[in-house]
Subunit: 437 residues, 2 copies
């Protein structure tokens, strides 16, 4: 049953173009009809995934309808091996087969994925132990100092040109936006997110802020230009830092921002605020205590800290395909696990907000732009890459819609700090989105 | 070293007047001066508690000043045994000795306690293991179905007359108020709390709400009268229920509220909201999974749940004296432990707010009224009781001020529920306090 998975292994090594499969057997077509055990496998697969409204169109054109349900989506399989791979390791195979074009989907991909997520979440509760064991996701790879560099390079150094094709044109934010109202544009929602974060940190002119994992530096520039603070912004992605420094230069903010090419573990100095947007997912649970100590020593007695991270409702491994092909080392924590960090630093948690559906909407906006730019993406890389990223975006939309992923913003401070706001109204005194302000 | 603690043991059995010590040796006075090892014990005690600005006045009038520090507070000890008890088990002895009058304090009691909390929190970090072992708090008693009844009876059935002397006159709330602005009266802050909670639950007319542990029924009446919902309110304290039913009758709300004398574990039916204010502290960690299942089965698919509880920054046992004399079975969870409940119910946490300093202020208001009513309290019970409750209120003020205790409001819903608010502005559209609205 595992002749399918071995083919995918070499991918693991991919670095700057990590999602490019050699597609030896791609789109091969087989003329023979399905064997009876292949029909049985499909029926079993549908049952084990909770009988989603899904029909299969096989390599010879034959269509297998689901038992009892009316199909809304069609999955096309190009060859029998694709079926075997899917059955033996669906978490990995669905993405890989789709990327290589051996699995095709007829119907809206995010909607199909949402339906699948919901259906599997339900069905999972009555899976036999052996199936859980076979279909389980594996542990994320290490996130030590050198591995972190490699993990981050894998994803974030794909090229600024690539990300510019589909991220917001305001500040290149590759994290969840804040749709303060549902009709915001991606640009406005991303600026609203930056504003919301700054308000939560209660920034005041003249303060000094440290940012761990600054992406293309948008938050740092926003904090400097809108709140008059100085920022030390850390990142280990060279590509992003180059962009960040250029942008700060152009905006005349270089004197306020120090973009530092270094790991967050090497942060030194003391700050009025510690902020990290979308980095904790890459830190790895084993390093939470270490990160807590970094924050503890960097935060002034009345300093405020904010971590913004993808998370879970309960501890769960990252989807294997995403961890392997897209985000090496990624692990989204439950709030309970997140609290391991806060507790080990003896911090007091002041505010937790869950922006799950905001990430679904952010991803929908990204995906629309990604689709509009798909020819350019394929030109930059190849079709396999384009399909892999489409799957990643669609799967992520589905995960946030179905509640498999969450988005937490956690505000905390030293346990002894009594300089706390009276209430949270200051977050809502005026709209966070620029147009409405 | 343990001849002191045995004296306190019989107290354990006290029920409706739990804090009444037989004071055989109370206020005994000894004329002899301190032995050299007694001086040594005091010096050691001061050093181990982080050298707080504290002088001791001994049984013979002799004063021992702290080393190096200028004393702001004086602690008077009536007899040598009091010193031994204090040294061998300060967590228990400080409260017991104060209650019986064998330890007296010159200076503001909440301020002294705050100073002590802060000082000990610091000093604790370098305690030797043996001292930690000797001075540790013990595990709370069981909170099973029958024990819970006894635990709750111990505290909440002290008599409505007693609580009416010092709780707010609006709705008899024996939980943290919400000082939306710092100058609110206790009454307004308690009403603001009720309003804040109802807004977080997004109550709408016609909904049905279940409340676990309803106290004197104030929240239930507020929800019914202000939001037009029906309420099933559970409590196992007979005294409180009698008051609650009377009050609902008087306010013409009986048709909307069903006050049920039963354990929260026996809640049945399905509700638009599940709310519990100040009960989780009494549930006990071992019962969180059970409580999660109760909420899971009682909450409609789009229902909202809110738990409001005293908590900790990290797992820690309750102060031994409070657990033994005041709140049997009490255990305030860290958010991490709290999440054990939410995770085991597969809930999605939407909002966590920490109202720590609001509880300090609530307690200050209670204590002021308590002091004004102290003669009446002593008449109802006796002086030992009055002193024990003064110590409890002062110690609680100190614990919230020093960050040893937190107050968490956690809002959550089923993991699959996508009927979520766009943002949290609806909590702040208008003031929650009645006067300002």
């Amino acid at each position: 049953m595992n002749h399918g998975t071995s083919k995918a292994e070499p991918l693991r090594e991919g670095h700057s173009r990590p999602n490019v499969l050699e597609i030896p057997a791609a789109r091969q077509h087989v003329d023979r009809g399905p064997h009876s055990y292949e029909r049985w496998l499909i029926a079993k697969l549908l049952r084990m995934t909770g009988n989603p409204p899904l029909r299969f169109q096989l390599w010879n054109g034959e269509i297998i309808e689901p038992d009892g349900a009316t199909a809304t989506f069609t999955i096309l399989l190009s060859d029998p091996k694709a079926l075997y791979q899917l059955v033996s390791n669906p978490n990995m195979a669905f993405g890989d087969l789709y990327s290589s074009g051996r699995l095709e989907v007829d119907g809206d991909l995010p909607n199909l994925m949402t339906t699948l997520y919901r259906s599997i979440q339900q069905a999972k509760q009555s899976w036999p132990k052996w199936l859980e064991a076979i279909w389980r996701n594996h542990h994320p790879r290490s996130t030590g100092l050198s591995e972190a560099k490699e993990n981050i390079h894998h994803h974030y150094d794909l090229g600024n040109e690539f990300y510019q094709l589909w991220l917001d044109r305001a500040e290149m934010q590759y994290t969840c936006a804040y749709y303060e109202s549902p009709d915001l544009t991606l640009e406005h929602a991303q600026l609203a997110k930056l504003e919301h974060v700054c308000r939560k940190l209660r920034l005041r002119p003249g303060q000094v802020v440290v940012e761990a994992g600054c992406g293309w530096g948008g938050l740092a520039r926003y904090m400097a230009s809108q709140f008059g603070v100085k920022v030390h912004a850390y990142n280990i992605s060279k590509e992003q830092l180059r962009y960040a420094r250029d942008a700060a230069e152009k905006q005349g903010l270089s004197h306020l921002i120090d973009y530092v090419e270094d790991d967050y573990r090497n942060i030194d100095g003391q700050y009025d605020a510690f902020v990290s947007i979308g980095m904790l997912e890459h830190v790895g649970k084993d390093h939470y205590a270490e990160m807590a100590q970094v924050i503890r020593r960097s935060l002034k007695p009345e300093g405020m800290a904010l971590l913004h991270s993808i998370g879970r409702n309960r501890p769960m491994l990252m989807n294997a395909w995403i961890e392997k092909r897209i985000f090496p080392g990624a692990y989204p924590p439950s709030i309970g696990e997140f609290m391991g960090l806060c507790e080990s630093g003896d911090f007091s948690v002041l505010d937790v907000e869950n922006l799950r559906l905001h990430y679904a909407q952010t991803l929908e906006h990204w995906m629309t732009r990604f689709e509009q730019a798909r020819d350019q993406v394929t030109e930059l890389y190849d079709e396999h890459f384009t399909r892999a990223w489409r799957m990643y975006l669609a799967g992520s939309i589905a995960a946030f819609r179905a509640g498999s992923l969450q988005l937490f913003q956690v505000v905390f401070t030293h346990g002894e700090n009594n300089a706390l706001p009276q209430n949270r109204r200051y977050l809502y005194d005026s709209p966070a989105a620029p147009e409405a302000r």
